[in-house]
Structure formats: structure tokens, C-alpha cells
Subunit: 379 residues, 2 copies
């Protein structure tokens, strides 16, 4: 049995992971779950799983003990995530947290020599160099759960790193792919949350519409596969059928294709080399046709901005991520418009310094500073 400590069990990726653990209950065992305030979802999971550790906001302690009297409860506020990782040291850590809060947990698990299944893209976005350094001193493996990176990983299996010519990931274009730049001013939160292909959480759905998600994925790919930015491309592919492509130096090109079903990368990451049968109905004939376009830098101006920040290296990438998180929150609250997301990010990048050493304390405190600034900023 492969033990799974699931950080962020109540989110979109977390609940799909739980369903797969239930479907393949002879292979996986859920030993710890964490959430913030989604008590109903957590209670439901506890009815079906005899977990050792539960982490939630402190206020839910009694409710957790009512449902799972044998489990250990740690409060989220008291380093609960790190305590859950330590308490299940023989488990694989599935990091399905949303936002830069995931970085510390990822680093902690790697330092514990625990394999990390990484759905939390912000870990690598804000702490890529720290994670790479931690991996050098650890036996832990870092396995991507994102569909694009899981796709690249499948294409790279059995291949030599030195044979890579370039990596390509695809972008659907998000909810406003066919809306002109001018008309973006008037789009609503409800329209933004309708992703054409994928069913995902609110944050990533907005990040898809702004193309910021693709910036994060390029950064992730850079650190996960140790490939320089000039050898990573993103292209527009509205059907989201081709997820990742690897061009090899010998002229061979492999593409990972399939339905927009996050369960496939989730299961692939969890199972490792174990052979499991997943029921998936997919064929290209039913799909009919696939289309590919360049990402228009005028229409998706945040993409070029984000990639420039990534290439620059330094603390700006933390600014970018934190400003984006707050901007998306403010958009979802109806506080700012869709195009203001970019304005807010740009203002933060102008305001904050880039040349600050990337240590964990610096990253965490800078992240807080940017959030505070971005929250108050008048647009």
C-alpha cells in the first residue's frame, strides 16, 4: 500500500485524488488530510478513510474528533501542515495546496526524504531555486501533477536529458480566448469562471484566462526538467487535447495527448511504476481536428510580461505571484475588473525591488509585503 498525505484535500485536485484513492483502494491508503475551512468535505472523507492525521483551522478541532476520534488533529495555524508531514514520515506527500503557502510544505517534505506529488505550482514558481537545492541533498522525488508537466514527464520517460531539443506546453486560451482585448474591459467574474475545457478551481481558471497560468507552467517546467527558458515554448491549442510536446535533438517529437481529465495526471503521479487500469474513452477520430496557434503577445500581454520576469530571476517572480493571487481574489470579489489584474501586477512590479536574496524567510516576508500592498492598492 502506498501511503498518501494529502495537503489541500478539499480543493478540486484534492477531491479528485481522494476519489482515485477510493477507486484504487488496494494500491493507495490515505493517511493524512489537510484543509482550511471546508469542514463538510473533510467530514465526508473521514467517513470513508481511517486517517492518522487531520489538519484544519483550529476552530474545527472538536468537529474532527467527533468524526475521527482516533486521528491526531493539528491546527493549520500551529504549523499543522509541517506537523502532518512529520507525523506520516513514510508517506508520499501530495501537495494540492493553492498559492505560495505550498512552498514551505514542499521544502519540508523534500528535506524529510519524502516524495512529493506537486500540484501546487506556486511552490516552484516562488521557490524554484530552493526546491532544486533541497532535492540535491535529498532522496525525495518531485513528481508533477499538472497536466502539462505530467505530459512532458511521460514523453521524457526512457529518454536522455541531453537529447532534449525543446519543450512545448499548450494553452487553451481560457474563458476569453475569443474575446478581443478591447472587450475584456467588460467581462464578468461569472464569464471568467467558465473554462472551455477543464473543470478546475476558481484561481487557476482565472489564471488561464489571463495566461498567467501558462507563465507559471513555463517556470515549473524550467525547474522540473532543468531546461533553460529559451528552450521552453507555450502555444495556443484551443481543444486542450495535446498537453505537452518534447522535441528531441535527433528529430523525433513526442506529444502527450488525451482528454481534459485531471484524473489521468493525478493517477500517473500517485501510482509511479505500478500498473493500473484507468477507464478513459478517448480517440482522435472522435475529436476530429486539432488547432495550433502562436500566443498573441498583444492579446495575452501578461504572458510576455511574466516570462520576462521569470527570465530576469530574483524576487520579482515572488512579487508577480503574490500580486497575481491578490488581484485574482479582488477580481473574484468584484472589487476590480478583469483587465485590472494586469494593472495591479505591473504596479507591484514597479514598486518592489527585484534584487533580494532568495532565501525562504525572505520569500515568505516579501510575499506578505506584496500581498498587503496589493490588497490596499487603489486601481
Amino acid at each position: 500500500m502506498k501511503k498518501i498525505t494529502l495537503l489541500g484535500a478539499s480543493g478540486s485536485i484534492g477531491t479528485q485524488a481522494v476519489e482515485l484513492i477510493e477507486e484504487f483502494d488496494e494500491t493507495f491508503e490515505l493517511v493524512a488530510i489537510t484543509a482550511n475551512k471546508s469542514i463538510e468535505t473533510i467530514e465526508k472523507i473521514l467517513h470513508h478513510h481511517d486517517v492518522q492525521v487531520v489538519v484544519m483551522a483550529k476552530e474545527y478541532e472538536q468537529r474532527i474528533y467527533d468524526v475521527a476520534p482516533n486521528a491526531t488533529f493539528y491546527a493549520l495555524e500551529d504549523d499543522g501542515l509541517l506537523k502532518a508531514i512529520d507525523a506520516t514520515a513514510d508517506a508520499t506527500v501530495f501537495n494540492a495546496l493553492v498559492g505560495s503557502v505550498g512552498l514551505e510544505a514542499t521544502l519540508h517534505a523534500i528535506k524529510n526524504n519524502q516524495d512529493v506529488l506537486l500540484a501546487n505550482k506556486e511552490s516552484l514558481v516562488v521557490g524554484g531555486p530552493l526546491i532544486k537545492e533541497a532535492l540535491l541533498n535529498s532522496n525525495a522525488q518531485l513528481i508533477p501533477v499538472d497536466s502539462e508537466h505530467a505530459a512532458l514527464r511521460e514523453c521524457l520517460k526512457g529518454k536522455k536529458h541531453s537529447d532534449i531539443e525543446k519543450l512545448v506546453i499548450t494553452a487553451s486560451g481560457g474563458s476569453f480566448r475569443d474575446v478581443s482585448k478591447e472587450n475584456l474591459k467588460n467581462v464578468s467574474k461569472e464569464e471568467a469562471l467558465k473554462h472551455p475545457n477543464w473543470s478546475m478551481g476558481a484561481k487557476i481558471t482565472i489564471d488561464s484566462a489571463t495566461m498567467m497560468n501558462k507563465v507559471f507552467e513555463v517556470i515549473e517546467a524550467h525547474y522540473l526538467f532543468d531546461v533553460s527558458y529559451d528552450k521552453i515554448e507555450a502555444i495556443l491549442h484551443k481543444e486542450s487535447i495535446v498537453h505537452g510536446i518534447v522535441h528531441f535533438k535527433d528529430g523525433n517529437v513526442l506529444a502527450h495527448i488525451g482528454p481534459s481529465d485531471m484524473r489521468i495526471p493525478i493517477l500517473s503521479a500517485m501510482k509511479g511504476d505500478t500498473s493500473l487500469r484507468y477507464h478513459s474513452v478517448f480517440d482522435l477520430v472522435t475529436q476530429g481536428s486539432l488547432h495550433f496557434e502562436p500566443i498573441d503577445p498583444h492579446r495575452f500581454s501578461l504572458f510576455d510580461l511574466g516570462i520576462a520576469v521569470a527570465k530576469e530571476k530574483g524576487m520579482h517572480v515572488v512579487t508577480l505571484n503574490a500580486a497575481n493571487e491578490i488581484a485574482v481574489q479582488r477580481f473574484l470579489k468584484g472589487d476590480i475588473g478583469f483587465v485590472d489584474i494586469e494593472t495591479l501586477i505591473k504596479k507591484c512590479l514597479d514598486y518592489f525591488e527585484n534584487h533580494i536574496p532568495l532565501t525562504l524567510p525572505n520569500i515568505l516576508s516579501h510575499d506578505k509585503l506584496v500581498r498587503r500592498y496589493a490588497t490596499k492598492l487603489k486601481i
Copy 2:
């Protein structure tokens, strides 16, 4: 240096292999070449390569010695192919012969423990069971050069055979893809030889137009990858950009994509695990769109017929191949029409017995019988 004995050096695949051996002359060495009557092409090769063995029709012996006095000449008529293989026992055998004549050479090389790079699809079509048996008792590897099978092989690298769900190969539809069944009666040899995507020899270009080529490729895939016929599909894909697709049981699907450039599979087969850089400009954005359709069984009636013969097993597959070779020859000579290719094949299948033990002597004598019958058959 990897030594290459190239059978069929003057054909389309053979000449491209020679060009690659010249481009990567620090990796490959051409030690033997064979052809039938293309003396000019062979003389040109001999000006650039110091080969040990040359095989051609007996009449060219003196001309070969004039150009390559240090080479050993064997006549094609006197088991020249087998002698060339024996004389270069430390070489990899690149079988780029056209037609069932390639089977004996493939078997001979495998029995000699020499790796075989197989572009001669008829070897597996008519002698699949014999080749599989020979491989069981040999250290030789059989490596496909066909673009579809090279594609499947790249997708399968680093994967477990038991994880294969199904294999899919693509068909361009050939020169008459957009011609209705009714209008096929009037097409000319010149029209048939214009393949929309690939630059190939005459025989395979006609086989593409009739879809017989795809029948052969399904049979090849069956033997090369040890996958049952019900798990091998062929689909229509007019752009010839996706060459082969592997669906895995865990829901992952890998596709091999790229330009219609036979040099990529040729180089991949020749180089093995050696890292080489091949200059290839390809990207999906330039391509723009890809289309996939089922193969219409009414329009491409030879496809279903051929697959039925393959599934049946037995000597009929030899009948199918020999009748097809003669039918294509007769069409290229202007002796029969394009739709008569199917008529002639059907008549041969009706005439000859299927239940004959598949031994090499039986296959070779049956092949001759069918050719004689098909050559004389009035249409």
C-alpha cells in the same frame, strides 16, 4: 563506428540511408551495398565509400571491379544477399529491399545474430511467424524503419509492454484520398504516383493509394510489438504529421509527431542509443491544424479485406502480398486499371488454398506460384 550492410542501396530508403551515413561519417561506416540493376547509383556510392562487399546482378561484375577493385563482388543470382550478410558478420543489416525477396535476408541476418534495421515490410508481412521464432533463438534485435513503426517504438521506449492498451497508426489516404470510389476507375499511373505528403518509391506510393500499405503496417505492428490485431487501429490523417499513437492502460496517450521526413526514422533506427543531432524544422503552429477520420470501409475496401486475411493467419497473407506486388507492377505498366488491383487480389485469394504450413520453402514456392498466376490472369 557502426558498420552498416545496406541491402537495397539504390532505392528510395537506401539512398536516404547512404546520405545519412555520409552526413554522420564519424558514427557510421558503409561496409556492404546491394542493388539489382541500378549501376549508376551504385557507382556513385562506390566513389565515396570504401565498401568491402558489393552485390548486383551478375552482368555488372566487371563494372563494379572497375570502380571498386578492392571490394568483393557477389552476384545477386548466386545468393549474393546472404553471402554479403555472412561476409560482414560484424555489421548491422539494413534491409531496404522491396518485396517478399527481403524475407530470406532478414531471417539469415537474425540467425547470424546480426541486428536488422527493417524497412522491408514484406519480411514481416509474409514471414512474421518465422521471424518471431528466429528472434527467440538469436541475440539480434529487429528495429523498424517504417515511419509508423519507428513512431510507435519511440512512444514505447521506457514503457512496459503489459501497459499497452492499443496502438494506432495513421494513413494519409494516398494520392486518391479525395477521389470517389466511382471515379477511381479512370485514374492514371501518373496521378497514382503523386503522393500528397511523402516522397517514396513507386510500389509503396501505389500501396498507399489502395490502403494496402496500411494493411501491411498493421501486420508489421502486430509482429514487431507483439500486440493482437484487435488492439491495433489505423485512422485517416491527411496531414501525415502524427505517425503513431500508443494508448496506455493508465489513460496516458503518447503520439509521435513530425514532418514527413523518412530520414528521421532511418537515422533513429541506425543510431540506436547514440545521441546525434538532426536538423529538422518542425512545429505545430506552422502546421496549424490536424485532422483525423475513420478509414471508410466502402472507399478503401482493400483495407478491410487485407485485415481480414491477416487475422485469419495462414498462407493467404502470402497470396495477398504476391498478388498485390504483381497487380501493382501490372498497373504501373499500364496493363490493368487502378481498381483492377483489388479484383486481381481477390481472384488470387479465391484461387489459392490458405491452410498450408508456413515454412520458408513453402512461403517461397507459394509466392512464386501466386506471382505466376497473377501475372497471367486476365482481368
